[in-house]
Each structure stands twice: as structure tokens, then as C-alpha cells.
Symmetry: D2
């Protein structure tokens, strides 16, 4: 379905070639200062056409709040939001009407729904993520206020150029501890905070752009100051919800939390995160963070960090031998310019999805703790 | 919460030290032949204590159907199932009452719920997975009948000994195409079908067992004959649901579908799966399968394959410097023998979770296609 | 929350004084002919200001489809719809800023959300029902196509003037069997098909209008040609879902299905609906229909009929002794003209909510029957 | 489906002729004192065979907690509970194998599921309500502790003998304000607290019992000390959730809140509940309560009261002309003794369903208020 979340819930609508895309956000607490200015920046960061590294289609993407606020404050009712579709160009995909684009959703869409849409893959489109980013921006806005939660994503790999993502590596650890949205954006359109690899990453993208090809990458995200105790211990472990959220983003192929796939090589005696008492916080903390801030499915107050694999973009201008819809061999070359790497642009989408997960779990855990408090009083 | 699924839904209860663990399964179609004999084998495969490679606690784990069947056929009503807890030994965890076990759920459980349970991490326990495996066995049973769906998981990595998981590798491709539960079990407790690496994997586990340590691994799973058109294009992409399912299994750290994290290194021109017409099936297929059987969030009829990273088991008999609950430095050594690698035992759990996802999506897509058919008739 | 339904789901947003009200409808099958012309008529029927019997505020209420259709056909993706708020007049409620309106949602809104909104009761407003009616119109449109389902509501009582609602009464039975939306609207703004009582009903409303008072009523609704087998036998009995739907409409105080509250007086020997074989339909039917078309929570193919009680409108121009927000006794008289009876205007809202329930259950039951069919084939 | 609730959620399983019936309850706060002794009394009150007024089948119905508690305290994990089916007597329904019982679920069950079960209507059975009552008892237990919530149901009508249910009637008002479960049970098996009508009610039941017939009735329920602010203003108005809950109970035909169906006859000027300032509570209250404790879908702190219509039991020993499954006219007479009125026995079921609704809404509203508090602190 088109909803995500239980108490903090977003429902999105819209595809590439309709009047608008948008969403309804439920669960926003009343009395919160909120205007379009709190939401637009993340939409602007998501927008394509911002640099030579991404597609030149300049979509304006101005968000318009429809409901749920009054005099700049939330009412507690659902926030309706929409962004008009301006740059529709429905005829630009001409040749694709003959060819299903390889590794795109054109064919599976028809197999599922029994018909072809002019957007090809319908809702499985980058444009659908606008509603998510708008909703995620509200979630981040609230999380910032209630617990100074910081959610920062960045590019950690392009092609085979990767930063070390071991949390015991000092460079990576420092990035996890200090990177901000501003510092990430200050690194340029590549959005990579590791000086040792970022220039090389740019070169890899440029090389693939110049050969009308595309290349994949990895986005890593850190959540700082996440409230302790979030996540449900069984099916809705916090990492499971994050994995769900991330793999629902178009073009993703993998998710790992904490030590991830590399961590399986580390014996328990080294992988386990020992406890120590923190005098300032007056509570136990872990001395290492291979767990990635989640243990037994529940946040433990350490930095939550995870990585998301994005495949190379499916749409390339290079000629590809493939088949037409009606089964004839042929060669497809997508017209126009296309994103050589969607990875840097995915940064605000990853942040948005992370924020949606955390905000929903805050509401659920708040329900539990406040009910425990009521029981204790009586 | 403790439910998973929308139309095919399992709700589980139970932890390590209570009377029973069990589940309620909703959405089982009526008129299906089903007895405990269809469910028990997967529970038996999940059971610890089956080999020198896993923990010697011999839990019997006999499933008892409580409701929803009559004369060996399903009624269409919920299937209640339970397994008695026999080997509870609540006092065996003595020293752990002083120490929160590192990288276990003991501390986060207290942080979340405000109290300590004798099972430590409560529901975040391997024992909770019994209900999932029982429910998953029913799902597999149905999927087999309606579309000859085959779900087979196996160990593809232990520590740093890994099989090549590139679907363009002939050995891996052959395994994806031909492995069966029986052939996997025939490889021994290691459950690895790759002759080139399995013996080395066993050695890695034995080495860690002998040093009272543990080691992680990767389970890969293939779903063959999955109906085309499953998955919802936005938040509930099929890979997102699988990722959610897999990361909800205890001790998991990562998930990847198709080409996964390695795939980000491959340019679009090579990563894209070209289409070709299949004369036998009378439909388009892809000539490669980097997509892993899912495109735009929707199954395309190719083999779905994915991998799940399992960390090294947190409970080891080796001494670990850590802190007590009340903040005093100390050294913890878990008594008794512990699983040096949970990875091989996770095989049926991964299969069960995969089956639950696919079955639920079959019901949802069946609703759509049958409604489309009704529209066409009128 | 602001969603209703499982597979056919509507999520609404908007209150009286924001930019627009609208909804997202999920679960609409692809390939269906659908334009705004299929939706607008029910919105127009819902609109206030159509007669001397209702409030003169003339809201235009033009629905605009945002997404989910292309070239007049549905895509299978969510249908976003909105209606602009034109006649906001936020200052008309001046005195109500001092007084919480009795039996309105002004005070409970503040108690729940901790703040006052200029609409008083926020989402508990008649205007919110626009999204429901738009979604319900789509549901009715589909139901008509797939099974010739007819959903017709009408006024059966105003104040103490009531038609006989016993299904064994020939007049009532004839109305249940033959009334159409057109025939109901042809009776005038009172929307009552019983010639014996309709004129008296009009007089009752006029009497209360002339004394600046209001009066309640009952809307009865019949669903003809409802598919057999809808409803889930436990918590989601069909009548339970209808009751939920109806009591969620503003100003409702009661719901009854079939024989309803009067039926409790009838002994089982007379209340039971005997079976008889119908040669034309080649199946059993009941000879009477005290059950109201639902038995054991499941539709049986007979007419489903139910009634909904609407209280007298809370907003009246007459002076009412009450208290101000800050606890001072005073007298409130709402300015302007107000609906003396909301009951006739509720007719399309009742129909919409009924359609949403039935459509959702069709999708759920279709999932079951098509899966049973798959099992039988193998 | 077989679940009810969002955060406080019960999932039930079981029908008349299986090993056990039971449920899983999610959302129970940790640290709560809870044993089977807190649950059994309501199950015992629900049990048939307690008096000459109800069926003599003496089912033992001992609840056994399976999980979620330790040393008499809840863990925060799901509470699994079951009751063994002892008195199954599957062969007692012999003749009913030929006849679908009129106004029972036998036929619709087959129409929905495509097969016959030995229980006839499967889950649409009184026995299924055991899981609900067990779950509801836990909810009531919590509500009592956190806000001294009192939920008391009683019989207010049998056949055409009814107490005055107008909240402005002194006798009815006194009952709403003072009745307790104990005082209700002290009135005998009729469970009617109105001395003026209870003896006559008993006679009505006896008369129908003696003629092998059955008769319906009305159960009224009051919820005192309900927290203010419960219910969501749109689809999940508190009265809508209560209506859903009540109409999901077998044999119900109607629901009304506050003034209900009679209230439609009262003009707004009399029906509106004026506000007045309460010096003790330091807040506004209403001087009358036609609203039934809910305004705009949200609880306002006044007594919530509602009534539920129960039809005459469908199973009677009297001969009924009807048709066999295969369409032959015949006469059915159910063997054995049957409940002449299910109404008094429904009292604890109504209480249980009310408690489930209120508890779930407490958790949801607690989430909101505690999040508002977090926002205010920062």
C-alpha cells in the first residue's frame, strides 16, 4: 500500500505525469511551529538538476501545505501537502513505448496491473519520493525539537571507491560523530565528507557520465541522540523498520546496520560491545559500537548508523541490446541526459525515511512509558 | 508489535521461560490439507542441539495445532499453534543477573520496559522464532501447492570464508537453480552446498568453538517459481518487505537483494538485465538476473535471491571485560556451552520469513487480479 | 487516525479553514474508466445550501483528481483528490471564541489537543466528509460495474415522524426493493420516499427552522446485489464494519441492522429467517429478512439494510444558557442561519461510507476465493 | 481478520470443536501485577449453565496464561492465554448437518469458505468470545489501576419489557452513576438493576423457555471515570470504535450512544448539553449528558453510556419449517436445551469489548499527550 508508519504515518500519492504529487501526514503533535520553510530545504536538496553530476531537469518542487496548520502552528490534524508537477514532458519517452527499459519497472508494472502507464513504472519512480521527503522533513523537525536528534546521510561509496565504514576506524568514527547536513553539502554535489576519497568518487561519476553510462554507490546515515528504548523486540526491531524503509527507496539493493556484512568476519569476542559506566550520563554505555546503536532490536543511545546500497541507474543513453514489448530483439538508447549516479541525490531521501521510522517509534514508545508512569502513580 | 503481515498474518507470543511459545496464523485458505506433519520438519530443522556445531540443549519442540483444522483440513479460521517450553533452566543464567550480556538485549530490554526478565532479552530471543517457523511452514506448504514455489536457504559464508555470490558465477547460479532443502541438509550441519568452501567453513566454526568464541556468517536464500507481479510499488516493494522480515530475525546485521552491495560497483550498461523473448513461456524474461527477481519492487518471475548477514553470537564462554548493571567493571564468562555459530541454524528461519512475505503478497495480488477480472467481465 | 479500510483505503485531510480538503484512495483496480464526472454528483448531493431545508452557505465543492488516472482510466495507483475551500469565513464564529458550543466538539478538541482551532472542532466537521464522499463515489462506481451493486439511502424519520422500518411491512419492503438515488431525489430535499410521512417530515423541519431550533432524524440505507460471503466472522463482521463507518459520521447517535432494536421484541420462532430454495438463482434464500442481509457477520445475498440515527444539529440560532471557556455563565446565540436538520444532507455520506465498507470487503473476499481457486487447480 | 485494536491489541483463535480457544494480547504495560485470578472472574460470568435462565452446558473455562508474566508481574511482552475445550459434543448437532440453522451462520459460512465445519458457523460462535473476555479483563484491570475506570453493563430490556433509558430519567441516571458488577450480579441471573422491571423480564424469558422459543433484549453499559480526550475525530470517533466492537459480538442488531434513537426526536435546544463550571474539578462539565460522554468523537469526562440490541437466540428447540442444504423443504427442531435469552450472558462480553476500546485509545492518546509534553519542555 502507499502508507508507512503506525502512529506517525505518511500516505503518498502521485506519479510522474499527473497534476501533483503529495502526501498526508498523520500523527504530527499539535502546537508545533511549522511552515513550508521547515520542509522546503530537504525537497530542494532532493531536487534533480543541481549540478553537473545529476540530471539537468529542473523541477521546481515547491511544497504547499493544504491543511493541519493555522497561523504557523500545527493543529494536531493531518498535514496535507502537495507539489505541482511542472516538467511533465510525457512525450520524451517515445522509444521506451516500444522497449521496456531494462532493470526498470516498465514491464513488471504491466505484469502487475495489466496496463501500461505513460510514466512506465508508475509509482516506482523517483518523483514519488517527494511526498516522503516532505513528510520526513516534518519528522526531523519534531525530532530535533524533542531530543535534539540529528540525522545526517552522506555518500560513502561510488563504484569501487569507498571510505572505510568500520566504526572502529578513526576517520569514519569522526564523521559519524560530527558530520552535519551543512558540512556534507559543503563537500559539493558528491556529498562525501571523506577528503581521501571524494575527488576520486567525482571522477568515477564523470567517467561514467562521459561514456553515457551510470554507476552505483552507497549512502551511509547516522542518527545521533536517538531516544533510548525505540523499536519493538520481535517483528518490528528498529533495524528491521529501517531496512524496510530503506529498501523501499527506488534503486536500493542492500542495507546494513552497524558492522554489517563485514562484521560477520569478526569473532564474538571482538564484535561484542563491552559496557562501561559513563559518569556524565549516569548510565551504562558501550565502549565500541559494532551494534550500530541497536541491541535486541532496541536503540541503546549510541549513534545509529547504517548503509544503503544504490545500484547504478537503469536509464542510460548508451545503446543496449534488449527486446521490445512484443518480443523482437532490438537496441534501446534512452534519449536525453540521465543521472550518471543517483546516489548523492538519495541523501535527503535516506534521511527522510530514517526520520519517519524514528518518529513513529518515538510515538509508540512514548505511549508505553507514559502508561507505565500512570501505573506507578496509582 | 508482535504481528507480521496484512492478509496472511502471524502473531506470536512467548519467551524463553514461560509455559509455551506459539502463534496465531490468519489468512490460511480453507480446504487445505494440513496437519502437524506438514509443520514439524521445519521446526525440527530449526531446533538447536543437532550437531557438534550447535548448542547441545535438546529442546523437543513438538508443535500442537489448537484450532483452524478439522479432519486434517483447514477451516479458513485462524490456526492456533503452540510448542511447550520444556527445558527452561531459569537459574542457569546466574552470573548474567549481575552483568548485562554485551551485545545482547539484556540492557536495552530494561531501558525499554523498566524491568528485568529472567530471560534477559525477553522476546528478542531465538526461542521466539518458533512461532515464525511454524507459521512459515504453513505458508511454504500453500505456496508449494498453488505455484510450486520453492524456498531454499543455505549458508554462503562463515567468517571470511565465502562462496562467490555473484549470480553471473556458474557455481552460484547452479546452486540458485537446483538446491533443495534435502540437498542442503545432505551437506551436513554446515548447510553449505558449495563443495569448494564448506569444509573450510566447518573448520572456522570449530576453531571458534574450541577457543570459546563465536563467528558470524551469511545465509543466502532463493525463491523459485514466485508468482509474477508480487510487491507494491511504493513503501511495500517486495525487497523492502523481505528486508524487514530478515532484519527482524535475531542477530542479523544486513540484507542484500540480487547483486547487492557488490552490485554498486557495476556500471549500468553491465548491471542492467536485458530482455529476451522466451518461446516456451511465451513471455519476456531477462537474460541476466542482477535484479534478483524483483524490478521496481515487483517480482518478475526470475529467481528471487537475497543474502542475510548474521553476526557472531553474542553469548560466548570466553571471559569478557565489561561492566555490571550497577556500573562496576568486571569480567563476564557465560557458563555452559554456547552456539559458536547461529548461522546454519538460521536457515529454516530465513525460509520461514521469506515464505510469510511471499504468501501475504500472493493474497494481496490475488485480490487485485481477481477484481480486475470481475471488471473485465462486466 | 484518518484512514478507513484495509485494501480499499481512504485517507482524508482537511478541516473547515484550510486551503483544501481531500483524500487519497488506495486499492482502486487499474483499467477502470473514471473521471471527475463519476465523482462530482455525490459531492453535489452532499453540498449544503441546496434548499430551504438546509443551510444557505453555497460551497462549490468541485473535485479535482490529482493522480492515479490517465486518459480517463485508472492506473492502479492511489487516486489523490482535492476540493478547494472557497467559503471560509473564519470570522463568522466570533462569539463562539468565547463560548464552547454546547454538544459540539469545541471543548473536547481543546481537551484532546491542548489548543483551540479557528474551526472549533477541527476535523469533527461536516466539511471533512467531502473526502469520504469522493472516495465513496469511486467505490460505488466500481461496485456498480462488478456486481450491479446498488446503494440507496433515504430519510426514514424526522423528529417523531417515522416510516415503519419493519422489513415485513409492505411499504417499507417495496422501498427497500425499488428505491433509487433518482427516485429519492425526486421526492424533494426531504429525500423521503414514503408519501405517507414525507410532507409531515418537511413540516417538522420547517417548524424547528422557524423557531431557530433543530431536529434530528434517521437515515435508512439499502444495499442491493451485495456479493455473497462478505465480512469476517469475528471482529470484522460486516455489520460491525458498517456500524463503525456510520458512527464515524458527525452527529450520529445510533446504528441498527435488519430488525434492529425493535427486533429484540420478536421471539426467535418469528425472527428467524427460514430458508427456501430459489429455482432461478439455484441456491437457498431466506423467505424473510429480519437478519438484514447478514448472518454470522457474512452477507447472504439478501438486501442489506440498516438505519442511522442523527441527532438534532448542535448549532442553533436560538439563545442557549451555557458557560464561557473560562467558566462564566452566559448566553450563546449562534449568528447566521443554520441547518435545522442535517439528516437529509447525510444521505450521500451514509451511501459513501457503506460503499467504502463493501468495496473493501469485496477485495478481501476476492483474495480468499481466488486463492481457493488456485488451490483447487493444483 | 481476528485482531482488534492498534496498540492494545487482541488476536483470538478457536472455535467450538477444537483443542482450545485463546488469544494473544499485545500492549499490556510491563510491571503490572497480573495473574489468572484477575482474569477468571469475567470468564466465569460469561460461562453458560449458571442458572435456569441459560443453557445447562457446564463448560469449565479455566484460563491459563502462557506467556508475558513472571512472578505475577507482566513483562511487557504479549500475553498468550488459552482455555481448553472440554465439552465438545461434536455429534449433538446431527440434524443440523442436513439443515442450515435459520438465522445462524451455517449457510453463510459455507458460502464464504466453500466448506462445512462441524461447528456450523465456525468462528461466529459464542465460544470465540472467550478470548475477548480474557483480553478485556486485562484491559479493565489496567484501566481500574490507572484512572479508576469502572465499566458496568446490565440488562435494560428483555422482549418488550424495558427500563427507561433516557439519561434525564432519575432511576436510569442513578443506575448509571452507581451500579457495580457486584450490584448487578446481586440482582440474580437476569442482571437487571431496575426493580420495577426485572421480575417481569424474568417472566418473559421463562415464558419463551417454556414454549421452546427465545427472546431478545438490550444490554446497556456505562463507563465511569473514562479519561478525557479519547477517540480520534475522524474515522475513529470513540463511539464508532464502540459501535464496531459491539456489533462484532454475536447476535447483536443495534448500538446507540447517549440519547440514541430516541434522541432524534428531541430538538437541539433541549438536546444540547449546556456547559457549567465545576468548582471541584476546576473545569467545565455539562449539566446534562444526552451526548453520552462523547462529543465530536472525543470523551469529555462524563459517563459514557450506550446500549446494544441482542436478537432472540437463533437456536430454538421448537420446530421450524425451513429447507435442507440441498433445497428440500423440511422441519428442523434443534435437539437439547438452548438458551432462551443470550442477553444476560452478554453482559461481561459487552464490558470486555468496551474495555478493549478504551484501553487502546488510552495508549494512543497517551502517546500524543506525552509527545506534546516533550515539545513543551524544549
Amino acid at each position: 500500500m502507499s502508507s508507512f508508519g503506525t502512529l506517525f504515518k505518511v500516505t503518498t500519492y502521485g506519479e510522474s505525469h499527473c497534476k501533483s504529487v503529495g502526501c498526508i501526514v498523520e500523527g504530527v503533535p499539535p502546537g508545533l511551529a511549522l511552515t513550508e520553510e521547515d520542509i522546503q530545504p530537504q525537497l530542494t536538496r532532493r531536487r534533480p538538476g543541481q549540478s553537473k553530476l545529476s540530471t539537468p531537469r529542473n523541477e521546481k518542487d515547491r511544497v504547499m501545505i493544504q491543511s493541519g496548520t493555522e497561523f504557523g502552528k500545527t493543529l494536531g490534524s493531518p498535514i496535507g501537502m502537495l507539489v505541482l508537477n511542472q516538467d511533465q514532458r510525457p512525450h520524451d519517452y517515445g522509444e521506451m513505448d516500444v522497449f521496456p527499459r531494462p532493470s526498470h519497472a516498465d514491464l513488471t508494472y504491466i505484469q502487475k496491473y495489466g496496463l501500461k502507464s505513460s510514466s512506465g513504472g508508475g509509482r516506482a519512480s523517483a518523483r514519488e519520493t517527494i511526498g516522503r521527503v516532505a513528510a520526513g522533513a516534518i519528522a526531523e523537525h519534531i525530532l530535533k525539537k524533542i531530543n535534539n536528534v540529528e540525522i545526517v546521510a552522506f555518500v560513502s561509496q561510488i563504484g569501487n571507491v569507498a571510505m572505510n565504514r568500520d566504526c572502529n576506524d578513526p576517520t569514519f568514527l569522526k564523521i559519524l560523530n560530527t558530520a552535519t547536513k551543512d558540512s556534507i553539502d559543503a563537500t559539493g554535489p558528491i556529498r562525501c565528507p571523506d577528503e581521501n576519497v571524494k575527488d576520486e568518487m567525482v571522477k568515477v561519476i564523470e567517467k561514467h557520465r562521459d561514456s553515457n553510462d551510470s554507476i552505483g554507490g552507497v549512502v551511509t546515515c547516522v542518527i545521533r541522540n536517538c531516544p533510548i528504548g525505540l523499536g519493538e523486540p520481535c517483528f518490528d526491531k528498529l533495524e528491521a523498520l529501517l531496512a524496510h524503509a530503506m529498501l523501499s527507496v527506488p534503486a536500493t539493493k542492500g542495507f546494513e546496520i552497524g558492522s554489517g556484512f563485514e562484521g560477520v568476519k569478526v569473532p564474538g569476542s571482538k564484535h561484542n560491545d563491552p559496557f562501561t559506566y559513563d559518569e556524565n550520563l549516569k548510565r551504562l554505555r558501550t565502549t565500541t559500537n559494532n551494534s550500530g546503536g541497536i541491541q535486541g532490536g532496541i536503540s541503546n543511545g549510541e549513534n545509529i548508523y547504517f548503509s544503503v546500497a544504490f545500484k547504478s541507474a537503469a536509464t542510460i543513453s548508451q545503446e543496449q541490446p534488449t527486446s521490445t514489448y512484443d518480443g523482437k530483439d532490438g537496441v534501446l538508447a534512452a534519449k536525453g541526459r540521465h543521472d550518471p549516479s543517483v546516489t548523492p541525490r538519495a541523501v535527503p531521501i535516506v534521511e527522510a525515511m530514517a526520520a519517519l521510522v524514528i518518529m513513529d517509534q518515538v510515538l509508540i514508545q512514548n505511549s508505553r512509558t507514559s502508561t507505565i508512569d500512570m501505573l506507578k502513580k496509582h
